[in-house]
Point group: C2
């Protein structure tokens, strides 16, 4: 290790690092070096590498051999370049010590400024600059060092300062005079002595070493560890430490400090955007005592400095091919750049900047595509809370479906519909939703549930509708009898306004102002570029003509999952569906199904029309029959009441219904009598559905439509289940085509949503023409995890890093992903031309889309509002593969 | 195809087949050939191969080229050997045509006897033998041919015969004289003409061809297909057809017919065992009009024939090294053997014969082991219904736990305990059982449930207790209010006696006589031989000292699964467990757990003592907490009643309980908050359990016991779950050992019961010292199949051949088995010495045990009463592998 380089210098005369060394020097350090290389003025300094941090942790908080020598050498170089002396009483060299990881972890780690001050050097500084300024720096240094290095709570220093202000009857720090500051310094030093049992360290080298240690130590504070877990930053990356000569923006009226973006980070407009304060330090800008000026006024105030800054801005953009976020300080008329990094931006800005930069010839289309994170597009598709509004949430649930919504609280789907018809905007608040609530959900602005996770019924349906949803907000207690809910000390009655933020999970009291971003042509341009690049097709999950149209508008190339059960819940249909279920005989069921047939046929015709020219995959009935009946608890209550009232006719009716509900009761409906298991034991149901599909397709074919129906059999675990169902479907298809005198091309395939199906995909693919991975259920069965029940431990798992991600949000690539790969490989081993897609919620999640591309899938299918995201993610998949 | 041999001759002078050609000639045909080869007298004939059957089906019911010529040649040979002529008016050759598949399918396929008779040959036969005899044969032939070949229902012939008997006022066929039989023949022929539109075929060749076709066709009757599905006989095996010269046991007092076993098939004793009737045909023996004589009396009656038969018996046993089941006919003093096959026998006989044959030097130990099917041993371990009792069942459920039981009907576990204490024998009848019923189950003779499958709670627990159980008897309607149940028109009240047959699933009214087979020393001898041969270790699933002792007595080599939750259900414990669950604070839970600690420690000490010197794997708490609380429905009823009565204190109590039950409610408890998910979110529970385990082990270690506890973490899906739980367990173990001043060897491992665990077994094995495949849950998740809910479709699947087996009974080797293999392979890839076992119900099922051996597992663990079966199956695994 001894000839390894641990410390990299940057400055006017010599710079050892560059922007490509981000892993070694951290983001801040590598960019400071890069600016120095470009001849842009930065206060000189050096960067201690992340490897030192790693070594420090691997060797019981000791530096590696040779480090101390390199540190001394670099300090010497710094003295040579600046002409100041570290630890010297005359012309003392003062330093800043800052962390800088590979990826910015804002506010997570520690900084020490004004290092090098002590009782002697403070006098020198006073002489060079100004006495009050010198003592102000000194008290700030002791405070910061005491807090960061010596672990004395900041508020202890704060108390001393406040006491001094009270004593002098002033309110602002700036009103303290030199003597006051000198007093404070003395008191601070006494505090340090009391707390640590030692004097405040006067030796600058000692100060430096302890500060470097403190920065390293801050890598492993609880909050930093948590932050890394949340953001998936490996623990062994470590942080670099940047040691830099101090510059001061508060050295009089020709000094100042500011921050700026090279373009407008909200809109993406190509204007220099930022603010500054003269005679101020960075923290003063943040403190908000004085109002900073917009960057344009600097043009008048200090034209030369402005021109220099504007020039640097242009050079940085051209050099980094990015919108940059810079910090600068002007010390007595001289400009220093303190930092440059990629600027954070809104989704709208990201899209505009990407497209503009291509148009300006700055970047290629491919680079433009990579400048926008697919997930960001979501912001552009939903109403959102005006960023200028100050809101305080009263509870937090899961951000189950993005966007924001304002409306009056209502507790039942029926009442929601009534209020909607009366012209009210409503928010449906339920313990959990069920398919019976669809109507009420449809008319609501947003949905709030107490139970259920990111893929609960409420969440899935809301996302499909593009409607805001906060799910699993467990703190809420609904009291339906009194039409109110309680949460964290608040009580909200039916009719009270609340606002939901489905992107954060926040619940807010009252009406908050919302804004709707306009989907501009830039996004369309970008998505067209994405379409040119991507290989994966993007379909949608939709069961209504409306959703299908929305998805088409967003660029969906067909339907990957049309769930037929949602159609069964229509107001005109549910009684017939219940009639079918309650009938004990096959003839009775067939009678009821005959009534449903024209309705289903109508559904399919409308959807086929909207999807003209595109494939439509229709999944046959999937949920267990009891989902279509009332809940047992409700019936029991009704029963007990009726028993008391003595209405024997009605009682009998309820009893019959209850008995059927009991006989259909399942301990684990997710693993129960559903999917093709229903289709096999009640073949008449699937026969009706297949007939409806083919009658619809034949009728349209006569009108000149070219329809290729794709019939999808759900929940196949064994090839024989598929064979039996396929044979029956084929027979019906043949019959309908003969009746109608039409020949159709069609496909019959299956969902792969059980581990057994993936493992035996080779057998299944012999008979199945396509696979669609149902990754919601596949995740549930592979993990043995009910998405509806996972709320009790899954958040804990993600929070504590037991799982990296919620596997219902992003595909679990190590586990579920392996099964997908096995399924694709085995399936294509017996049917090389097998068409393979995915229709779980993951189909619209960027990392999962990339996984699907890499696994060789043909398409992803997602809810309409995720289609643009999937299109961009699919392009990223290709571009990242090429990288 | 044309030079392929389709027909094989057997007879005195020339025999073309032998016993090794079972696949080609079927069981009956190959053994007839073998007997002919041995010089044993069989009526000559020929066998048409199974390949002809297969070809017949592959070519739209046509024979392959060349077959007709071979058939004609063989008929000629038969005529030459016998001196009779087929279709000739003088000395007519009469034939039997019988099916004969590779494996006997008793009663499934068709037979035609007396073939060759027509209006002319019947006269010849009359002349040769006796007129009445000839017409009796003729009417039998027309009836059989009409039924089997022409598809005229047997009862149509029966009606004619009955009318004739009525006309003549006689009751038995034998009382009909020649003229009556002639009339019947005429009426039969008229019936055939009416039904088929054609005359009864007079041409013997035509008769033969049609009969062969009919036998082939009978291979594909619905009942034959169903039989094959149930018995896993491939459809493409086909059947052979045996065409043989007729012999008659009814040609006077020196003729006769009989069946015999070479040893006693009930007891296995080495005595010639059988019965015969003189002047009779086979069907007369079955009809039971005359009582057959025991075979010994033949010694007096026809000493020469008896000696010949006894000699043949000895030769067959020596030749086949098997106990044989033979059929013979004596025609006018001459003995013919019609069939020999392996004799069916009781379990007791199988064991005795196997051990005896080794002692007689007839077979090796290995051959002896293979003579007993492991599953048969089950019969020897439970009481059974006396085979001499005539019983009629009133309902049938699933044969969930073998054996038989007699007792009084009782509907609640509490009442069962009361009645038991009052000295009654009881049968607990429940819709389903839950862990709260354990006490009641324990005191019951047997358990009968309405819902649930082979692996429902009732079934699993009953098997563990070695107690008879009939589960999922859906026809039963329990009326708890009136303390009765109704089933198929019967009403049974509490206190009425019923008898259960857990081996067949039958429910019988009243007290039936039971017998208890004595487990003789022969079985122990056999199992000791099995122990010498097997490689797999056999452990048991047991949670009580009693079960552990039973298992030890049956030869278990340790505990593979000790479920700790069963201990939580004890009467003294459940209130404390509920207290723990109802407490909202961690401190409260710890208080409650502190009370449970000494109880759990005591449990473990007792079990460790019984298992002295053997490993004990203890699984930490697995089920979701709501299993320990009352059911919501019950609380709701109580709540509504209390609300009406106005007892507000009690109401409040119930409300609190209800709220907790609601908050713990799960949609899919199987996939919910259980296993290590509980252990991670409520670490104090596992900490208490680990403490109890180590305190117990340390205390015994001080008394000189050598205990190596194996702590098993349930429901691990991700390696991190295991790591977190392991760390916590290790910390407690360390602490206890320090406190006690004892160092123990111990292991920490995991269940592999989720597909994700199997797929990521390489990661998990880095930290886990052993795996135990929990194949119950692994089957549930791999198939996406809840064992408690599968009753609605799984029986249908098995019946219709969609699944070969109930995957909860025998491991699904194509699906679940692949995951097990992946798990073993991946696990050993990172930890070569990984100990791997199985502790699902499959651990005691022979085909699964053989699978486990082949998959390289170290041990199987099963319920105590399955231990002997597993020991023998494990030996079979080795012997079959060597084959």
């Amino acid at each position: 290790m001894s000839d390894q380089k641990y410390v990299y210098f940057f400055g006017k005369n010599k710079t050892e690092g560059n922007a490509g060394m981000r892993n070694l020097l951290g983001g801040k350090g590598s960019h400071l070096a890069e600016m120095a290389n470009l001849g842009i003025p930065v206060p000189p300094g050096f960067t201690i590498t992340t490897e030192v941090c790693t070594a420090y942790y691997n060797h019981q908080q000791h530096y590696p051999d040779g480090f101390e020598e390199q540190l001394a050498d670099q300090l010497k170089k710094l003295e040579d370049e600046t002409g100041f002396k570290f630890g010297n009483n005359s012309k003392p060299l003062l330093l800043s010590v800052r962390s800088g990881a590979r990826i910015s972890m804002p506010g997570m780690m520690d900084t020490v400024l004004n290092l090098g001050l002590n009782d002697k050097t403070v006098l020198e500084l006073a002489e060079e600059a100004d006495e009050r300024f010198a003592y102000d720096c000194y008290r700030r240094f002791i405070n910061m060092f005491g807090d960061v290095v010596l672990n004395i709570e900041h508020k202890e220093f704060e108390t001393i300062l406040d006491a001094k202000k009270a004593e002098l009857n002033v309110t602002n720090d700036t009103e303290l005079d030199t003597q006051a500051l000198k007093d404070v310094v003395e008191k601070y030093k006494t505090l340090v002595k009391e707390k640590t049992g030692e004097d405040f360290p006067e030796d600058p080298i000692d100060q430096l070493r302890k500060s470097i240690n403190a920065v390293f130590d801050s890598w492993n504070t609880k909050r930093a560890i948590t932050y890394r877990k949340i953001n998936h930053i490996p623990d062994d990356w470590g942080t670099a430490v940047n040691v830099q000569v101090m510059v001061y923006g508060n050295m009089g009226e020709n000094s100042g400090t500011g921050v700026a973006f090279t373009r407008n980070p909200s809109t993406g407009e190509r204007t220099f955007y930022g603010e500054y304060l003269m005679n101020a330090q960075g923290e003063d800008v943040v403190a908000g005592i004085r109002t900073p000026h917009p960057i344009e006024t600097l043009k008048q105030e200090m034209p030369e400095v402005y021109d220099q800054l504007d020039d640097i801005k242009e050079r940085l953009e051209h050099h980094f091919k990015e919108m940059e976020d810079v910090e600068f300080t002007i010390q007595q008329g001289k400009l220093y750049m303190l930092q440059t990094r990629t600027g954070k931006r809104t989704a709208a800005a990201a899209v505009k900047i990407a497209v503009d930069m291509f148009n300006e010839g700055l970047i290629t289309r491919e680079e433009a595509l990579l400048k926008v994170e697919p997930e960001q597009l979501d912001q552009l598709l939903h109403p959102m809370i005006d960023p200028n509004e100050k809101v305080r949430s009263i509870a937090k649930g899961l951000p189950a479906s993005p966007g924001a919504a304002v409306g009056k609280v209502v507790f039942t789907a029926e009442h929601a519909e009534e209020m909607f018809q009366a012209g009210d905007k409503v928010i449906l608040v339920r313990n959990e939703t069920s398919p019976e609530d669809i109507g009420g959900m449809h008319v609501s602005q947003g949905i709030l549930t107490v139970r259920g996770g990111m893929t609960s019924h409420a969440a899935v349906v809301a996302r499909g509708m593009g409607k805001c949803c906060v799910a699993g907000c467990g703190a809420i207690q609904i009291d339906e009898d009194n039409k109110l809910f309680r949460v964290n000390g608040h009580t909200l009655n039916e009719g009270d306004f609340i606002t939901l933020n489905g992107s954060t999970g926040e619940v807010i009291v009252g009406e908050v102002k919302l804004i709707t971003p306009d989907i501009n042509s830039k996004m369309e341009t970008l998505l067209e570029w994405a379409d040119d690049v991507r290989i994966l097709a993007v379909r949608t999950n939709a069961d209504t003509p409306e959703d299908s149209q929305t998805a088409r508008d967003f660029g969906a190339e067909g339907i990957g999952l049309c769930r037929t059960e949602h159609m069964f819940f229509g107001e005109d249909r549910i009684p017939i569906v219940q009639e079918m279920i309650l009938t004990e005989t096959i003839e009775g069921r067939k009678e009821a199904l005959k009534k449903l047939l024209p309705m289903q046929r109508g559904d399919f015709k409308e959807i086929f029309k909207v999807m003209k020219g595109y494939p439509v995959t229709i999944r046959l009935l999937d949920p267990p029959l009891h989902e279509f009946l009332p809940k047992h608890d409700e019936l029991l209550e009704e029963y007990i009441e009726l028993k008391a009232s003595g209405d024997s006719n009605k009682l009998n009716e309820v009893q019959v219904l209850m008995r059927r509900v009991e006989s259909l009761h399942e301990f684990n409906p997710m693993l129960g009598h559903r999917g093709c298991r229903l289709g096999i034991t009640y073949p008449e149901i699937y026969e009706m559905q297949v007939r409806a599909i083919f009658e619809a397709a034949c009728e349209l074919a006569k009108d000149g439509y070219d329809i290729v129906p794709e019939v999808m059999i759900p929940l196949v675990g064994h090839v024989n289940e598929f064979k039996v169902t396929r044979e029956s479907a084929e027979a019906v298809a043949r019959q309908v085509m003969d009746e109608q005198g039409v020949e159709l091309n069609y496909m019959i395939g299956t969902m792969i949503e059980l581990p057994r199906a993936a493992i035996t995909a080779d057998e299944i693919a012999v008979s199945a023409e396509f696979f669609s991975f149902g990754t919601n259920d596949l995740t549930q069965t592979t993990f043995g995890l009910s998405r509806d029940d996972a709320g009790k431990f899954l958040p804990y798992y993600v929070e504590h890093g037991i799982l990296e991600n919620d596997p219902f949000v992003a595909i679990d690539q190590q586990g579920v992903g392996q099964l997908i790969k096995i399924g694709v490989e085995k399936g294509r081993s017996t049917r090389p031309e097998l068409k393979v897609g995915i229709c779980g919620e993951h189909g619209g999640e960027p990392s999962s889309v990339i996984f699907c591309h890499n696994a060789g899938l043909d398409y992803v299918s997602c809810s309409p509002f995720r289609v643009p995201i999937a299109r961009l993610a699919a392009a990223h998949a290709v571009l990242k593969e090429n990288e």
